[in-house]
Structures are given as C-alpha cells and as structure tokens.
Subunit: 351 residues, 4 copies
C-alpha cells in the first residue's frame, strides 16, 4: 500500500527498556479496536479533501451499557476536544473515542450520538443522555478544512470498521496532518509487563500534528539541509490516547496521562502556544454497568507503591514517544489543498 | 404573550442588597445581547418538539476578531458543555455563547462554526480555527430529544435575532426545561455598583433544569400539597452565564463564577449527581485583537482588596439566585412529549 | 461549663431531612476522634492569647501505616492550609487533620511530624517521609496571633486527648474565631442513612471564622438592631472537615467536598475575597497499608447512580450548615486582644 | 572551593538555541537574588547533617508590601510544598521562595514568618496574614532528616545572605540531594530574548533529587559500568523555580511552568511515583501594592500570539534542562548519614 512505509522498529530503532506487544499497537490491549475513515478527493479551485475520522473502541461490547474507567490530561489546551467535563467528573468513558479535524468535531459528535442512540433505545428516553468524546487536530494546511467535508456517517463508518489491525500514517484523522515539518498522521505502539504472573499491556495511539523541523531533537543527526521555508503553523496539535488492561483508577490514569508529555518532550516538542496537546487514558480492567444492581461496585487497583506504578509511567513515556516516531515513519508525501506539500520523514534523521 | 407571567420583582420580592439594572437583565451590561430560537411542534405518536437555542453575544462586533476575557467553573460536571478546554487555557471567548438541549450540542456547534466561517474568511485559511462554546441541559422529559430536531440554522437564527430585550421562561434553550418540580426555563437578572464614579454592571442568564419540589428551600411556605408522583429526573442541569463590564481578569472571573454556586444553593439545589451545573463568566471591559499589533496588551483589573472584589462576589450570588426564581416565575405550564406536563410555578410559594 | 450553651437542635431547630447520628457529631463516624488544646492567657500590654489546636483522628490506629482515602476542595483559596499537594495526587490521608490559627500552621505541622516520627521509626529512615495536613483560620482579632504562642507540643496534646466527645464553641482552634459578626468557633453535626441494610454515617466539623452580621440570611428574623460598628475582617475563613464510613473514592469525596459550599451558602456566606474557605473529606471505609503485600488493592465504592450518591451530597449540605450554626450557638462571649469583644450569638435570630 | 567543579557550558556543551544571560543564572533576571544556608556536621552514631536552606528573593524590596505575579504547576504531587493554595487563588507571591529538606518545611516556614513579621508590623495586626512558600526534596539518604536539624534562624540566614552570585551544587537545600544516581543539588541557568528592542530574561533554579542511573538519556554515551547496587530511592523530587522579567500574567506563568516538565523529561526523568516534581514561576514585571490606592491595577502582558509566547516556552524548557545538568556537574562526591556515598557526576557521560 502506498501509505505503508516502515515503523521505527522496522528501521532497527527501539525506544526504551520495556518489550513491545505482539503488534506493537494500542490493539495489543485485549478488546481495543481501531477504525479509520479516510477522505481524499480533489476539488476544483485547488481545494482538496485530505482528512478523515479515527475511532478507538475500548471494548467490543456496548460502551454505554458497560462503561470503562478513564481520565484525561490537557498538556496545552489550545484545542477543541469535547467530552472532558463529564469525563473528569465521573471518571468514566461511555462512547468510542473519536478523532478528526478541528472543524469537524461537531459532525463527528453528531454521527457518534446517532450511532449510540440507535444502539441504545433507552438514551434520552428512559435514561439520561450520553457523553461522547471527540478530539481533533487542525489539518488545514493540506485539507480544505473550511469545507466541513466530514459528515456524521463518516464517524459511523470509522466505528463500524474498527479492528485490531491498525493502519498507520496518512489514514483516518491522520490523513492531512503535519508533524515536525514533515507529513504526520496516525502512529501507535505498545509495551507489556509481567508482574507476579499477571500480564499487563499498555498502548498508545497518536495523531501527530505539531512542531517544525527546528524542533527535532539534536540527538539525531540534524545535518540534512532545511531548504524550503517553514510555514507558520497555527493550531498544531497532538492527540494522544493511552489504553491499558492494568487495573488503574481514574486518578491513576490521570497520573499516567501526565507522563505522555514526557514522551512528547523527547521527540522535540515544547508544547507550542498554538498546539492543542491533549491526552485521554483508559483502563479496560473494569466494566461499570449503566444499570448497577447493588449499592457498591467492586474494584481492584494497582498498588501505588514505588516501582510498580512507576513502571507503568515509564511505559507510557515509551509508547508515546514511539507512537510519534511511527506516525512520522509511516506517513507518505502528501500533496493537498492549494498544492501544499508535506514530504515524508527522511529516515536519514535516525542515522 | 402566553409565556409572560411575572418576574420575582413584579411579585414584590427582592433578592439581596444591591440595586438591579434598568432591565434587570444580563443585557444591562452594555453591548451584551441575547437571542432565542424556540421550536415547538407536535409530532405524531405523542412525540413533541419543545426545545430551542439561546445565544448570548458578549458584544455586537466581530467576536473572533475582538475577543473578550472569560472563564468557567464546573459546579457539577455531569454535562456536555463544549469549548472549556481552550477557554481555561487562554482565558478568552471568541464566539457567541450558545445554549441548547444536550443532544443538540453538535448541531448548534456546527451552525455556530458556519456562522463564524462566513463572517471570518481567515479562519482555517490564513489563520487558525475557532473555539465555540455550547452549553446544554436535558429537556427530554418534555421534548423529543432523541429526534435531534435542532439544526445548525436554528443556532444562526438565535444569533441573528439577538437584542437587548430578553424574553424569559419557555423560550429558546429554556423551552422544554423543568426546575424544582415545575416548569423551568430562561431567567435573567442584573445588579449595578458605583465605585469612585465608575458604574459597573453584572448580569446573569440561566437555563434552569434542576431539582424536585422537595428541594425548595423551607424559608418559603411549603404547605402546598405535592400530590403527583415525582418522576425520576436523570441529567437535570443548570447553565449559568455571568456577564460584567467591570474589568475582571480571567482568574477573577473564575472566582466570580465559583460564587454562582452560592446563589444556586439558596434556591434549594445541592447539585445532585445527575445535574450538570456549569458556569461561564466574561468581562466586556477589554477587547483582545486576534491580530495584535505590539508585543504586549494593556489591561486594568479591579484591585483584589477586600470589600471591592467581594461586592462583585455578592452581586454574583444575588443575580444567580434571582435569575433562577425569574426562570420559574415566568415559565408557563407546558404539555410535551408523551403528554408529559410541567406546571408553572405556584406563586403561593412566596407567601 | 462556661463555654457550653445550646446546640441548634437543643434550641428546637432542625436542618434538613436526614436523621442526625447519636451524638450529632463527626465522631458518630465509627473510629473518628477529636481532640482540642485550648490556650487562653492574658499577657501584658493588652495582649491576650485566645487560640488553640484541634486534631481530628480518622481512626485510632497508626494513620501512617494504615492510610485512608481522602480529598479536598478549595472553595476560596485565601488560606494557608498545608498538605493538599500530596493529598490530591495520591488521594490518601496519612496523618491527623490538624486545625489552628494561621500563623501557627508551621508549629502545629512540626509538632505533628514529631509525633509521627516517634510513632514510626521507619519514616525518613527505611521508608519515605510523611504528609501532614494542617488547616487554619485567622483569629487575630481576639488573639495575639503575632506572638506565635502555639507550640509543637500543643499539637501533640490535641492529638493525645482526642476522644469521641467533641466539645464545641470556644475550644481548640475555635477559641479565638469570629463568625457572622459574633463569636464563632468549633461546631459539629452528623447524619445517618440506611440503605439495603447498610448503615452509613456522615459527619462534619467546622472552625467558623467568616462573615459579618450583614451576611446573616434573611429567612431568620433580622430585626435585632446592629448597633456597633462592624470591624473590617481581613482573612476570615472556614475550615470544614467531612468524615464518613461510606465507601467513597477520592473522586467521590472531592464531589462531596464541593457540596460543603452549598451548606456554607445557606448560612449567609458568599465566600468573601479574604475568606479562606477550605474543605477536607475522608472515608474510613478502607485502610490502605503503607507496606502493601500484593500488586493490587481491593475496594468497593458506592455506585454513582442518581439517588444514592445524591443522598450523600444532601447529607453533606445539611451537616455543614448545622455545624456552622452549632459553632455559633455554642460559643460564648469572649474578650481578647486589645480588649476586643465578640458577643455570643443571639438566639433571637432563630425566632 | 571544594564544591566548585564545572558547569555544562564550561564542559563545552550548550543546550538549546537561545543565548544565556551574563551569569547563566536565575539572578540574570534583574532584582532576583539567591541565598544559601548550608549545614554540614558529623554527629555521633554515624549520623550526619547534610542539608540546608535556599532562599530565592524575587526582588530586593519588601515582598509583602510589593507583591509579584506568580503561579505554580505540580508535575507530580508526591511532595509537601506549602503556600500553593493561596498562590493559585490570587496569582501573587508575597514572600521569599524557600527550599529545604522535606521534614524541615515547618521550621523554614516558621523562620520565614518570623522574618516577615519583623519586617512588617502590620501583618496579623492592622492587616491580614502572610502566605509563605516553601518547597522541599527528601535528602534522607545522605542527611539525618529525622533529626530536624534545620531551624527557623537558618531560613533567616539564607534570606539575609541572598545575592546575585549563585553557588551551585552541594549548597543550601541542595547539600544532601541525589540525582540520576549521582550527587545532585542546586543548579541554575538563564536565557535572554530581544524583541522589538525589549530585553527579556528568563532563568531557572532547581534542586535536583530524582532518578537513577538507569534513567539517564541514551543520547549520551552510557557505557560506563554501573557497578554498585542502586538503592531504592523513596521520595525523590525536583523543585524548579522559574523567574522572568517579561510581563507574563499568572495564567501565562502557569503555562510556562508546565513547560518545565519538558526540560525535565529531556534529562531522563519520567516523574516517578515517589518524586515530588513541583514548579513555581514568577514575573518581576509588575509590583502589586498590598495597599492599593485606586480601584484598578494596570498591567501589560505579552501578547499570546504564536511565536512570541512560544519563545518563552522554549526558553523555559532550555533553562530547566541546563539547570539540572548544572546541578549534576557542579555537585561533588559526598559522604553522609550512615557512611552513605553519592559520587559526583562523571563527565564522561557527555562524551
């Protein structure tokens, strides 16, 4: 496939000290699926559609009826992500996590609501409403973002096609994104940990859309001449989703989400003013019924003692960094709106 | 007009010690306008549309080009309000503040974006994107909320019809709301303060949708028999918007917004679990250009010394309490979805 | 005893709809104890010591070794409370909760640390350090606060004398406090709830030091002439401690703590600028070992569905309001520093 | 001097793209001074005092009477820093910023209060109280932390000896600290920016006490054999203070403080569970009088448009990273409590 280049590992580079999961993907967390809807058309007048939707399903059941524990962290809030007010109040996720371009957040939210209303006849009828989560980055450099080309049905398409095979690079919400001066997009990675016979997996999926070539960290050979002028990039962003099957509470997931900024920092980001850098984290370890049967719910959570919880923090740093590099390594040169070009990442940077 | 009953003051009751503005309305703050789009139709099968949109315009100019200082406070985050991530990061509001029903937040956001894209050809083109703010309450008891009857154009209608005359009760976003067991809706109130020859105004507008008759405070005569069964009310809510022309910083506005809960508490609320109780506060005193010309912006802010800033806090408590009573006093008996009835508030409660 | 007047209930007034516990005290929560150290001496030159320390012990065991779940909420942060950074990060309390005057926070913290070091030879040796929590109000109107008369040993005294009998009014940290223009101090109250055969108790203890006579709510007969000039009261405050044996998570306790402001609002407060209004909440339902034995901890938490969690919210509102009235009703006229006088609350206000 | 080795720059290594200030120190920000009180004694029974106090004075005037704008950010809240509740509420700093060991926070707070009471006869008398800020790290590996050897007078000593010459390494609060498996301590760095003829400086001072050798970033040659056993390090920490003369608001300073974590991440930290990683940021551009004369204060703040504010963010990342390396590079091998040894950082790591 044109979009398929090589991941960082396929280039022979490993990040960190923990082992990757089988697919080195967020879908190594059992039950997690990812779906993309990619929109690429050329319109008249130089306008071009280079955008899409990515859906992350925390489990394959009915998310509204069987909620999961989640949290969020705003690294830099120049962003339009929705659903966080309730997520922070209740510590629960009850919808797919949707990613798209900035101005298409309402369309994707509407489509996701329609999907959930159809699946749950009780919502807004015999029970309350539903809180959907939609994140975004601004792909307006390559995409005709003002055209509002994403429709509700595209969100539903992304949800319905979700699987454990995660395509990376210029797909779904990553189709039109730019990162560190190159073509960005979707990237993913995972780590696993075995403690006392328990197997835990932690994965990340990012949509990378931040930074300029100047920001690339100096540990890589920076000798490639930067010839073209760097465009001013208003409203860059990165959306980061962390998933784990380890039993972490919403407070622990918030702590985990904060560590995403450490992985981000290692790729050269400093969270520029206009970059909406936002993290969502969830655990699939517990399912919380919308219709509880008793007066208490039972949970077990990882003990918060030194090395164990810290291992998860380190894994979060590793998967975020590697996901970002993967988004760069797999994305391909893209010509878009107004003949704007983003070149694919030059692997010589790693030599 | 059928909807027009009497405000609390017309009933002879005053709240607090500060004087109300000329209209006792949020539009007493110079420049602030409010528009409603009310949707009431009867559908087949007992379904009924009882919903709408309310738009609050902080000033009459171009809000994206001339932003204002704002903040928010989440009393209880069981709500789906959007736009808060960026509002808290940057302390600025750059769109009308829109209110509607819970499931219509995406439609209203989309319509508001379309309005702003048309008004600003630079958005998503030569400059970044725009952050819209949409708040909500769940009117599903009286309204066919699953029907998603609010469309983007209705949001634009609400914006375009904004004026300084604020209709209260069963209008706009308040059309289908319930409060303290009675018909709720839109309410507003204002206070003014003269300090050293400076005239300041502070106003509130609420959409009230919380509580049961049991919650009504005991200082009013509670002897009216409560005969009908109280329905379980999932996802009640109150949206509170505070406006002032006093020069308050985003931090000071956050402090002001917190005081809204004190006014709310005095009407009997305890911020029930399912009640999304959310406050937005803004000051019109400074306009911040989207295209700054220098390297600094100049501001003057109210000194944060004892009595002065505290006066604003007290005024906030007063306008929120009175706005809630006004929403109850002006709303009229409404029959909606599935022949559900909410009776208008009984003025005997004040005797 | 000179300090003992009547509680609100002894005056025949009940707040709310839930039943009080046996002692109508925070110590109705099994295991919770309260100790006071009261310092009252007259010095030369008109200076007078009217201050003290109050210690709240969540359980009778070793709090560092057996931590409990806790949270906090800052209503208005004009305050010097310590220990909140770690409390919010970890959601655990590992020391007695100490209350004193503003400038004596360091002395009380030092004394509490000494107590804990003696009790735990591992702290700062084979294990980490300990996080102590100390709250405060400014009693400088009646007390020679600049004299720093509270010493570490007084904190230890308060801890050691803790019992289930809670003296109210002018004792411990409440000795020199003023509230709503009258003598304030320590107040407490409790509520109980039986659900499905489970008995739960929720209690509050406050140190009240806020407001002026003008703030008293109008539902009470306000006809008593206010003759003397009201002094400007910089740095008023209220410290509120909520305790329950219901299994609430740290997030749920944070939600509970927020409801304290609703009880406070009903006594007339609007959280004035200079009032440090701060809430600490804890649950005794789980004990978390400092030396965990497995890799997970097990918890059960109250289901977060409509009426049940909301009952706890309402109980929190009720106990905070009643605790404040109790602090006023039980405190006695006090002459202090510079012959300043605070008169005891006039019971005619309730008639 | 024994403690004086070489800074990172003296070793020929530069971090980032902005130029350092004259002294490459936080005191390059005009008016800022730093004082240390170092305590090193050997006691009987193998106990050793290796601790101290560091004071950062934002300006040379009376800080209580002329407050400055400040903010804070908690990277990881396993820490006992005090003063943050009021700092976040009011956005102002009114005392020196004090750093010491974890269990000596109360002693340093008490000494600082005594200093401020003496300097300000109005505190606790004709005006309110004062909010002191004290941060800490746990030096218990090298220092007899249980001995509580820091006294209030040592805090006063640190304040009184403050100057623009900042000694680094094993001094003041850094005396007993460990970092990345080596001897840590105090480090500082600065950057300057000229915009439209305005000269701005941003500086950092850190007390480094986090991490193990395993965490050192791989970009440096990691081939040096790690022979000794790594001790478990409970309660590591880093205290980071950022100072600037650029006119940043409290909200902007909070954003700046968040970027400190990006500099920290680049030194290998992942903010381990037990590491209290805490940032304080202030601007000296405005002084806010304790006794305001009008009803508003005037401010000018840096425009929050893309590149300019982002430059400050980048500078913050650079000074934090360089300050940490400086703390390592300048600290010297230290033998302390129980003959524990921390070796000085091996410069071969940079080769």
């Amino acid at each position: 496939m044109a979009n398929r280049r090589q991941t960082l590992r396929e280039l022979g580079i490993q990040i960190g000290k923990f082992k990757a999961g089988e697919r080195n993907s967020i879908t190594d967390v059992p039950g997690v699926k990812v779906g993309h809807k990619t929109l690429t058309y050329d319109l008249s007048d130089g306008r071009a559609i280079r955008t899409g939707v990515t859906a992350i399903l925390p489990h394959s059941g009915n998310l509204f009826q069987e909620k999961i524990i989640g949290s969020s962290y705003v690294i830099n809030g120049f962003g339009k992500t929705i659903g966080f007010v309730q997520l922070q109040e209740l510590g629960m996720i009850e919808s797919p996590i949707m990613l798209t371009n900035t101005l298409s957040v309402p369309a994707v939210a509407e489509g996701t609501i329609q999907f959930l209303l159809k699946e749950n006849q009780d919502i807004g009828n015999s029970t309350g409403t539903v809180n959907v989560i939609v994140g975004e980055c601004n792909d307006g450099y390559l995409n005709d973002i003002r055209g509002l080309h994403v429709k509700g049905e595209h969100a539903i398409d992304a949800i319905k096609t979700a699987s454990i095979q995660v395509e990376q690079g210029c797909v779904g919400a990553g189709t039109g994104m730019s990162c560190l001066g190159f073509k960005g997009g979707v990237g993913t990675s995972s780590r696993k940990l075995i403690v006392d016979g328990h197997h835990y997996t932690l994965g990340a999926l990012v949509v990378s859309n931040f930074g300029t070539k100047d920001d690339l960290p100096s540990r890589f050979n920076n000798s490639i001449a930067i010839e073209e002028e760097l465009e001013d990039m208003p409203d860059g962003s990165i959306m980061i989703v962390l998933a784990t099957d380890a039993p972490l509470s919403e407070r622990q997931l918030h702590r985990l989400a904060k560590r995403a900024s450490f992985g981000l920092a290692r790729t050269g980001s400093y969270a520029a003013h206009g970059s909406g850098d936002i993290v969502i984290a969830f655990s699939t370890a517990h399912k919380i019924s919308h219709y509880p049967t008793g007066i208490t719910n039972s949970f077990s959570f990882i003990v918060e003692d030194g090395p164990l919880i810290s291992n998860f923090f380190q894994m979060a740093v590793e998967v975020v960094e590697e996901s970002i590099w993967n988004s760069l390594c797999t994305a391909t040169t893209t010509i878009g709106q107004n003949q704007h070009i983003r070149y694919e990442f030059d692997y010589n940077f790693f030599r």
